[in-house]
Amino acid sequence: MAIESENEKIVKEFLRAVENKLPFWLRNNKKEVEEILEELQNHIWDKATEIAGKREVTEKELTQAIQQMGEPEEIAKEYKRRGKPKVYVTEELFPLYTRVLIITLVAQFFLNVIGAFFNIGTGVAGRRFFSGLTISATITIILITLLFVYLSLEGYYPEDLQTLSSRLPTLFQKKQTSTEKTSTDKAKRELTSIEEEPKVKILSESSTNVKPVSRVEKQPTIPQSNEIKEKPKRVVRYREYSGKQTISNGIFELFVGIAMMILVFLPVFEFISQPTYYPLNWWLFAYGGTIVTTGIIKILKSIIGRIVRPQQGLMFLKVFPIAVKIPLLLVLLQSVLGFGPYTTQVLNVFELLVEKLNVLFDFNWTFDPNIGLTVLKVIVYFHIVVNSLKIFSEFIGILRLEFQGFPIREKEIIEYR
């Protein structure tokens, strides 16, 4: 019994190593992972039994069988082999890549328009707009391309990034759903692509003088067990890990944060840092930094997958950038640790906004600092409450992981055995 458990431990260790190396999109599907590991496990035992011959399987045979399986990295790498290369981003991810790129560039265009709006009347609005757009667009293209190259290398398909896709406007979404909606469509797409391989040029030949022969079916060459027992189909409740949205959220937050950190230092947003209006750009930079940090932690969480302790560690780490946001928000209203308050600076930006609207649309609005302060207070307190709840939810998440395992949802499926 003791030997058996030791043997099982060796196999389980190998299987765990393979599981940990699997790409996130696959690890996310618990049922599929179980099937993969079950197949590998059976193979190891078959091989070990063959090596042992008539003897009982020992640690030695199992280790030998595992060695012949290959390295866990190599096995996992094979599962990442998905998608057809198109430049460096796979053909499957290319539509999503272009959509993300277009949407981000459009968003940056409008952000720069907003920035230019504050520069009206300075004589440099146009120049600052174009320089801002060029710099931010270049950085965005580089970052998004690098990210999609990585996702292509890891074998991701658009459906593995469902949340990211769902965040995109419906106009762009439709295109994707028409080509990627079902696995049958994917299979058809693959089959078509195989058929579309370059044609072979073969000279026509005369085969008119050959006679048809009868069909000969080859007999099985290896023994088959007669004891095949088939179980009837049954409905089982299946627990599925629901952490798929983490990577999409992480990518989304990463872009938002980076955009925030870059844009505030571009000439088009210079009004934020001008002495007249006090330097708010560093505040925005710090806030963008916290968003980038949570984005990176979320991406790391998705890469690590279903390993309890590192997940808990990252969840704990995630609390810090969220917690930093609270004093950052408070500093807009009052002094925190000698910094701030930045109330006047924000109200000045509000005033500038009203001023520019009056110029542009010929309004006759008067800026009321009391209304401005109320608006600012609502924004600040609302975000403080939201971030406090986020911190609370992270701690609950850590405890839930400890006592209940991974966040999973149950669904019924029909299992054929």
Partner: protein
């Protein structure tokens, strides 16, 4: 495969890491496609019962006299991919307390295999003069589509190539 080949002398070509890696890379690329065709061919030979991963590897070893050996762990990702692509279908059966996944060709998989074997056969035939070997294709049993190299049984009742749709009745 060179991966498993020992080096006996220091001046041997593959004693140098650069050349060993080069040849290993070449073999690996070449074997990837060949393994797919061979595995499908083995599965095709058992249309009723299907085969599970370990049986496929053992058959592959015995049929190719241990020359074509796939890294054992890498066959399962390949089978899974082919299943996802609709080339294979699988069925779980319990034997001696262990659940096995038996793989069989789908109807589309069968057509694709015909095309792959046809293409591969014609390729070997075309390369023969260059490589100084002789190859005789069983043209008394099959015709090879002039457009896509699909391998079609002569006694098959079909007027068109399954893969590219070319009219082939005149070729029979």
């Amino acid at each position: 495969m060179l991966k498993k080949v020992r080096t006996f002398r220091e001046e041997a070509l593959i004693a140098k890491e650069h050349y060993r890696t080069y040849v290993e890379g070449f073999e690996s690329e070449l074997l990837r496609g060949i393994s797919t065709v061979t595995i499908l061919q083995i599965i095709q030979q058992h249309p009723q019962t299907g085969l599970y991963g370990y049986q496929i590897i053992k058959t592959l070893e015995s049929e190719t006299k241990n020359l074509l050996i796939v890294e054992e762990g890498t066959i399962y990702p390949l089978l899974r991919k082919m299943e996802k692509d609709g080339v294979l279908k699988s069925e779980k059966k319990e034997i001696d307390g262990r659940i096995r996944k038996y793989y069989q060709l789908t109807a589309e998989g069968q057509k694709l295999l015909n095309h792959m074997t046809g293409f591969f056969s014609r390729l070997l035939e075309a390369m023969a003069p260059l490589m100084e070997y002789k190859i005789t294709l069983p043209k008394d049993k099959y015709i090879y589509c002039p457009n896509c190299a699909n391998k079609i049984k002569l006694d098959e009742i079909t007027k068109f190539c399954d893969v590219c749709g070319l009219y082939i009745e005149d070729l029979k």
